[in-house]
Symmetry: C2
Subunit: 273 residues, 2 copies
Amino acid sequence: MSGAARPIGIFDSGLGGLTVLRELHRQLPAEDLIYFGDTARVPYGTKGARTVTAFARQDARFLLRQDIKLLVVACNTASAFALDDLARELPVPVLGVIEPGLAAARRSTRGGAVGVIGTRGTITSGRYQAGLAGWLDPARIVANPCPLFVSLVEEGLLDHALTELACAEYLAPLREAAVDTLILGCTHYPLLKPAIARYMGPEVVLVDSAEALASAVVAELDRGGLRREGAGEGRLAYYLSDLPWTFRTEGERYLGKPIDHVETVNLDELEAS
Amino acid sequence: MSGAARPIGIFDSGLGGLTVLRELHRQLPAEDLIYFGDTARVPYGTKGARTVTAFARQDARFLLRQDIKLLVVACNTASAFALDDLARELPVPVLGVIEPGLAAARRSTRGGAVGVIGTRGTITSGRYQAGLAGWLDPARIVANPCPLFVSLVEEGLLDHALTELACAEYLAPLREAAVDTLILGCTHYPLLKPAIARYMGPEVVLVDSAEALASAVVAELDRGGLRREGAGEGRLAYYLSDLPWTFRTEGERYLGKPIDHVETVNLDELEAS
């Protein structure tokens, strides 16, 4: 297959990265997109760097075998720990969520503090903070992990008293620091935008990794002459390493429409790669 | 090594099963105990039966290679899906958490309804409900999954407004049904006993799987003449497939004391088994 006709591969620890696929499909409707969600080993956000890197390598290799032209690491934790390794090791361009999120925050801030929220792994990695420190006074950077947010989204508690209370618990330091921009450093968090916006106030810009990343993918395809031409709509394919009890309702929540067909990937096959 | 001198193996999806190890050590201080927590792939409770069974087999085989005399499946979800297979396949006695919990509930109920809470996997499996239906009118059985409870315990939010609210969310059907006994069908839940008791009322008996299981292990060892003799205190060994960011604080929370030394198990090694 010619370079431009090949599909784009996207992986995430689970289903949250479907928010990225949705945005990619919106911005690049002609592209074939192949999604892999490592639902058998989800979440990555609580786990150590070595484990996350090993999983990310296996996920990437699975997608490479589908002859992809570009790899999107839709998981913030995997981007934080494994992106440099993957970019060095793989024969295709590799884009993660962190750089696009940082660039969007840089464009949006109006002189106030910049906040970032994510899993414990992503925040502990310090990747967002280091990126911000390249152009922002460290006194203006506020980072906080929000470990319960993923479970709340997985359970569909998007507009619930529990979610309001969790926002107050995790976001208080960011509101106190008067951030004008808040990076949502986890693919699940865009679904909490209304609750987060209610707590933070309407003047705070919420940077959605999915949107920022999709724009970066468009730019990368154009740079490499890899954009697929053609009038037809691209094919969307979904692979998961486990079918969790809630995958249909959850998938629809992230994707905005039902997943029509899912292939399960045997974990033995994945691990052997 | 003679039969009785060999260690007891205990596995769980993560760190929650340390509540079982703690209770086993209290009731059987002379026994050597080897714990394996599959922290690289935790949780099991959201995942499908096939995935959980495959993981449970690998966990069990890892412990069998340590020459154990008895295997304890400390994870409710793994007990629900894999106990029959493991008991049939393995050359040592295998005890899970479900039967001991059911027996304790049978002793405790005073004619009211009996409730059971657990992960989505455990409740969906129907194993507790089927066990209760052997001697209890199905109209008196109330089961409800409590998906956020595990995250709340992992985050140490044992006595927090979020936990009070989650109790009200998940336990309302059980309080309305006036259960007199509530099975805590997940190794994490005993840490929420105070919050659950506050919501359910002091007259409701909370059945702790860890206590019920430890008593069943004592009985099984006595039956097989496998109890270790000797005045010395048994050796406790801990193996984990990942070192999560919070494992020290979390381990201490479940164990009641710090974990002095942990060995990490390479997942490749585990998966090859």
